[in-house]
């Protein structure tokens, strides 16, 4: 027996309750509950910290820890560079950077690799000068390239343990309820950041738009958030989202789009209640236009569209042709507005989207996905990460997740891009294994993976220009020739992780 803080005799142990802890006072064990209860005219409790520097210190960031960021601000992101500059000034080194992806905005990261602040990187993509820097072998540890679903799996299973997540948000209240569709830096869905907010040890929000409590509906919520920093700007709106994604006028893209749409129509998957995901490339977007016309003509509707949501998808949703939108990333301003306005345009996390080890991800419910490719080989393996010079210039994204999850995965690409063939004997880097790719649609013909005899038979009943993938490769090589093999050093600069956590390929240092 012991007397507790409320002056009651409390036993310390009873059968079934061997470790009873007596009450110690209302505030003793809950540090976040305000102690000024009952006192009038004091500032409301908040988690605001004056500067990023103080937030880094309060979050307890130390040498060797793992920090994370999201890439919803795309090319307009200020957050990653801002935080790393602060960390660098604090003299913290040897960090693992677990960003959902890295964009052209992140060239300054090179300096922080050089000065030893960042010594390990996990990301979906690498581009621009940063991509070249990595490809030239300037980092000791290889980069791990993961898919969007693979990252969510890594974080949820603890393979990537985030110590501090620095999450830029377009709006937040003082307690951490935040969303992506209000404020001048609106980016729409915060799908990638939701995973970090849920699993990181410490969560620091950085926003340029503080709103009245409670900021509902919210994407990241108060029970996940440790600190909030208000800054002047989290990103450049121009780089965060373009207006409506314009429909391409490029005749080649339009041709590919029409063929891709015809494949969908003939595939057997195009029926009432079907579901679809398209990429943001010209041909992909233009396919949506043909889908719309045919859906109206045949009187069918889609149950949902998934993934990166575009203005085209929003338009179809608002016309009632697509009943639900599941959005892990909003590609343009129309999608950003829609996620705020449309009841059935639902934000989803990257885990809900594509984590292969959770209890059910959305890609598994997907009927048709239309994806792009830098290269595809005669085994249907797809490369979306390394260019024709072997340098990192792309992103794994949801490519392999949707290819395997969907019933019908269609790759759209010109047969010849610039002066090089898109269809090759062996792709430089495998992101998506050929066994998960069903159809290749090019401007000069269509090839069906022989594994999909059902699709092949259906397409044979149409006037579509069908070839084997070997025939397409030969057509391409007849015009473009065969490029000389790229030479690489021995050093491995990046590991390509398949969505299940296994390594499907490696990228080597390019010979200078």
């Amino acid at each position: 027996m012991a007397k507790n803080a409320a002056n009651r005799e409390i036993p310390l142990s009873l059968p079934g309750f061997e470790n009873i802890k007596p009450f110690e006072g209302a505030f003793e064990n809950t540090p976040l509950v305000r102690r000024d209860k009952g006192v009038r005219n004091v500032p409301k409790l908040n988690k605001l910290i004056d500067t990023v520097e103080q937030a880094v210190i309060k979050a307890g960031l130390e040498d060797g820890m793992t920090i994370s960021f999201h890439h919803h601000f795309r090319n307009g992101d200020y957050i990653l560079n801002m935080v790393l500059d602060v960390i660098s000034n604090l003299g913290i080194k040897n960090l693992t950077l677990a960003s959902s992806s890295l964009t052209a905005a992140h060239t300054p990261l090179i300096e922080h690799i050089k000065n030893g602040v960042v010594t390990q990187i996990y990301t979906s993509g690498l581009r621009g000068e940063l991509g070249e820097f990595i490809s030239n072998g300037n980092m000791e540890n290889p980069v791990l390239i993961h898919s969007h679903g693979g990252r969510a799996r890594n974080i949820e299973t603890g393979t990537i343990k985030i110590d501090v997540a620095f999450l830029g948000v377009p709006s937040s209240d003082v307690y951490g309820n935040s969303n992506g569709y209000t404020g001048k830096s609106a980016c729409g869905s915060l799908g990638y950041a939701k995973v970090d907010a849920e699993f990181a040890e410490k969560v620091v929000l950085i926003t340029d738009f503080l709103v009245e409590y409670p900021n509902t509906p919210f994407s990241i919520h108060q029970d996940q958030v440790d600190y909030i920093v208000k800054v002047d700007s989290v990103g450049d709106p121009e780089g965060i989202s373009t207006g409506a994604t314009r429909m391409t006028k490029n005749p080649r893209d339009l041709l590919i789009a029409r063929n891709a749409a015809e494949v969908v129509f003939a595939s057997g998957y195009f029926e009432d209640g079907f579901s679809i995901q398209t990429g943001s490339g010209g041909a992909s977007l233009a396919t949506t236009k043909h889908l719309r016309e045919e859906m109206i003509k045949r009187g069918i509707k889609a149950s949902f569209a998934l993934g990166g949501i575009t203005s085209q998808m929003v338009k179809l949703h608002e016309e009632g042709l697509i009943r639900r939108l599941l959005d892990t990333q909003s590609f343009d301003l129309d999608a950003v507005k829609s996620i705020g306005n449309n009841r059935y345009h639902t934000e989803i996390s990257a885990s809900y989207y594509a984590n292969p080890l959770n209890k059910g991800c959305a890609v598994n419910k997907l009927n048709v996905v239309i994806l792009s490719a830098l290269e595809i080989d005669t085994e249907f393996n797809v490369n979306v990460i390394t260019g024709s010079d072997g340098v990192l210039r792309g992103a794994s994204g949801g490519h392999s997740d949707t290819a395997v999850g969907s019933g019908l995965s269609i790759i759209v690409a010109p047969l010849i891009r610039g002066r090089t063939a898109t269809v090759v004997d062996k792709v430089q880097t495998i992101i998506t294994p050929g066994e998960t790719v069903d159809v290749l649609v090019t401007d000069r013909g269509i090839a069906v993976n022989p594994r999909r005899k059902d699709i092949l038979n259906r397409l044979k009943a149409t006037a579509l220009p069908l070839y084997t993938i070997e025939e397409l490769k030969e057509k391409a090589q007849r015009v473009a020739g065969t490029p000389e093999t790229i030479e690489f050093e021995e050093k491995i600069v990046a590991l390509i992780e398949y969505r299940d956590g296994t390594i499907i390929d490696v990228i080597r240092q390019v010979k200078s």
Binding site: K249, P251, R252, L254, L255, R258, I416, D443, R444, A461, A463, K475, R478, V479
Partner: protein, 297 residues
């Protein structure tokens, strides 16, 4: 089956990227231009590019046409010499005003074919009529050579010569169109309409295509791949036309089986114009990608 020439896609002869992909949009013909779209200082390189493209690339059965420079320019003769050896299907003569313009080109082709050891007559000709004199002489132009497969209207020069300009309703070129299509029909060759240059005005383009189809033109020159599908769509027969055509063919088969010389359908006699029209409708339908299962009939 009669060759379809609904669309002839203009491709500037100095644009290697477009030249290599000219056929992928499935126009009925592609026309590599050495004339107006190529500046003076690129005439040689364009000629060389088209020569090599035709000798090297596989255009997968799409008809190839080369528009040469006129013989009144320093480039026309070299164009003909090179193209006879490059073997496009058709050489298109610009600004034809009289039958002599055709005969002159024909004579040079004839001679060059001999020099190159090629079979005589394998390269066909097409002529563009681009001025009032050519319009007046349309029939004599259309009958000037056995090689000539079609005549086309080039309206831009024509309206300038006529002291007018292009209008949306096309009244200013109605006479020229009518004269050319009539001359072509009288000569038994193809009639092709002029270009529509405002590629972003889809509605205006569609109206014009409907008009020229109504006048009896076989097709139209197009300047963007985006113009191909609308033309093909308008020239695609409607299902009821296809159904009727299939029944006409069926009636012919039945008559043949019974050794009957007279063909009748629904109690009416089917004469040659109806059979010709039926065959044309089916050819158009097939070319438009509509599956016509003649086995079913």
């Amino acid at each position: 089956m009669e060759k379809l020439r609904r669309t002839m896609l203009y491709v500037p002869g100095n644009n290697a990227g477009m030249v290599k992909d000219a056929h992928i949009y499935r126009s009925d013909s592609v026309m590599f231009d050495l004339e107006d779209s190529v500046s003076i200082n690129e005439k040689d390189s364009a000629r060389l590019l088209i020569f090599n493209a035709l000798r090297t690339l596989d255009y997968e059965g799409i008809e190839t046409v080369v528009r040469i420079n006129g013989l009144d320019t320093p480039f026309g003769l070299d164009d003909i010499k090179a193209m006879v050896r490059a073997r496009p299907d058709i050489i298109r003569i610009p600004k034809a005003d009289s039958a002599d313009d055709i005969k002159e080109v024909e004579a040079i082709i004839e001679a060059e074919e001999k020099l190159a050891g090629l079979e005589s007559g394998s390269i066909k000709l097409m002529a563009a009529i681009e001025g009032p004199l050519g319009v007046i002489n349309a029939y004599s132009i259309a009958t000037a050579s056995k090689r000539l497969v079609g005549i086309a209207l080039g309206a831009e020069d024509y309206v300038t010569n006529m002291k007018t300009k292009r209008y949306a309703d096309g009244m200013e070129i109605l006479f020229a169109r009518s004269q050319i299509v009539t001359a072509a029909r009288a000569a038994g060759i193809y009639a092709l309409d002029t270009v529509y240059s405002d590629i972003n005005n889809e509605e205006g383009f569609i109206n014009e295509v409907k008009l020229i189809k109504q006048l009896g033109f076989d097709g139209k020159s197009v300047i963007s791949p985006r113009q191909i599908t609308p033309v093909h769509r308008i020239y695609t027969p409607e299902q009821k036309e296809i159904d009727f055509a299939l029944r006409v063919i069926e009636a012919i088969h039945e008559a043949e089986e019974h050794g009957s010389g007279v063909i009748s359908l629904d109690g009416k006699m089917v004469d040659k114009p109806i059979v010709d029209r039926a065959e044309r409708v089916l050819a158009m339908a097939k070319a438009s990608g509509i599956m016509v299962h003649e086995d079913d009939i």
